[in-house]
Subunit: 196 residues, 2 copies
DNA sequence: TGATTACTTGACATAGTGTCAATTGACATG
DNA sequence: CATGTCAATTGACACTATGTCAAGTAATCA
């Protein structure tokens, strides 16, 4: 929306993003970000009122950079419900590693900070809409498993595709990104598609 | 193992457990615990060197209280693999709400503290063994879906039964505990059992 | 020349963990 | 009774990180 972003503001966002991506979201302090942006710690507060606000702004900055909307184009263009499900998992699942650092920081912050919690919640709600659209495409094709309502199926897909689930499978279980994508797609088909 | 737990130590653990269960793991401070145990904040450190150590000790205390081992008896006694899978989900899934508060605190601490991370990791690894046993029972009955190796099936079940997944479904999606159990069992059958 | 803007420096408040030293009260033992 | 020990108390302090405030500087614009 609002352009007119000052050069320094952008430098701060770049610094924030870089450190967050690098360190996997681990303890990135205001002073770290300031140092990398080449300004004093206090100057950061001239642009962002709190750490939470900076983290939130960083996610928006990342979205702008990576064009999160465009990623969903193939999903929306899919001909069949099954294809759409696959495409959505591919798109979101491939986006996760890129946003993981910042997501982790925001999730941690959300434990204590309301602003951060709401920002995170909104983002996840957006993602949920993608899940719902994919599920509805299955319903349109009349292939959704009978045992799930649309809402419950959406809940399940949303949970399968959560960042925490991705973390557990790739970090704790050591799955490669490719394996994660392949298995998640197969799992989703098995769970949601009736005609197997 | 080591008995000889002093009365005060026990009071601290009780206080810790109570506050953690109550507040859902939200910001329970050393001073809160001390106050509830009826001693000074500094006195807590006479019994537990760090907050992390206290949290870890609290989980062990909870296990002793609730007899986490006994819960798995029905699972181990199950006749068929499918029954075992159901019984394991029932046992662990019912345990989650009881440990959720302390688990959340420990998970949050694990982000920064090595001691906490290792303690948590060990507990989750224990749980994973239960998953593996359930999966192996399916293999023994020759009903495990062909597409999963034992290890991958274990990974998937482990993730399905993670605390994060429970949190998402019951907290974010508003599922009741009963619905969570029912759906999780159904999902596990659908994913792992071939002869459907 | 003077005002405005962006930034700097240094000091400070606050919150929470963890440490330390000096002290108190209870109880046990020679 | 004297002594020592143990558990706990109090108060002070170090440390880390966020966030605030005031005073000063340097560049730019009118």
């Amino acid at each position: 929306m609002s352009r007119e972003t000052s050069e320094t503001k952008t430098r701060i966002l770049q610094a924030s993003l870089h450190l967050l991506e690098l360190g996997g979201g681990k303890g990135v302090r205001m002073s770290d970000i300031a140092k990398r942006a080449g300004i004093s710690r206090q100057a950061v507060y001239l642009h962002f009122p709190t750490r939470a606000a900076l983290l939130v702004a960083t996610t928006h900055y990342l979205d702008d950079l990576r064009g999160s909307e465009d990623r969903l184009a193939p999903s929306r263009a899919a001909k069949t419900g099954t294809e759409r499900l696959d495409a959505f998992i591919e798109a979101w699942g491939s986006y996760i590693p890129e946003i993981h650092g910042i997501a982790k920081a925001l999730m941690a912050m959300a434990e204590t900070d309301i602003e951060a919690r709401e920002a995170w919640s909104t983002r996840m709600q957006d993602m949920r809409e993608g899940c719902e659209a994919a599920i509805k495409a299955l319903v349109d094709d009349d292939v959704l498993t009978a045992e799930h309502s649309i809402e419950q199926a959406t809940d399940i897909l949303w949970t399968m595709l959560s960042i925490r689930t991705w973390e557990q499978l790739t970090r704790e279980c050591g799955w490669s990104q490719a394996l994660y994508l392949k298995k998640t797609k197969a799992l989703a088909r098995r769970v949601f598609i009736a005609s197997l």
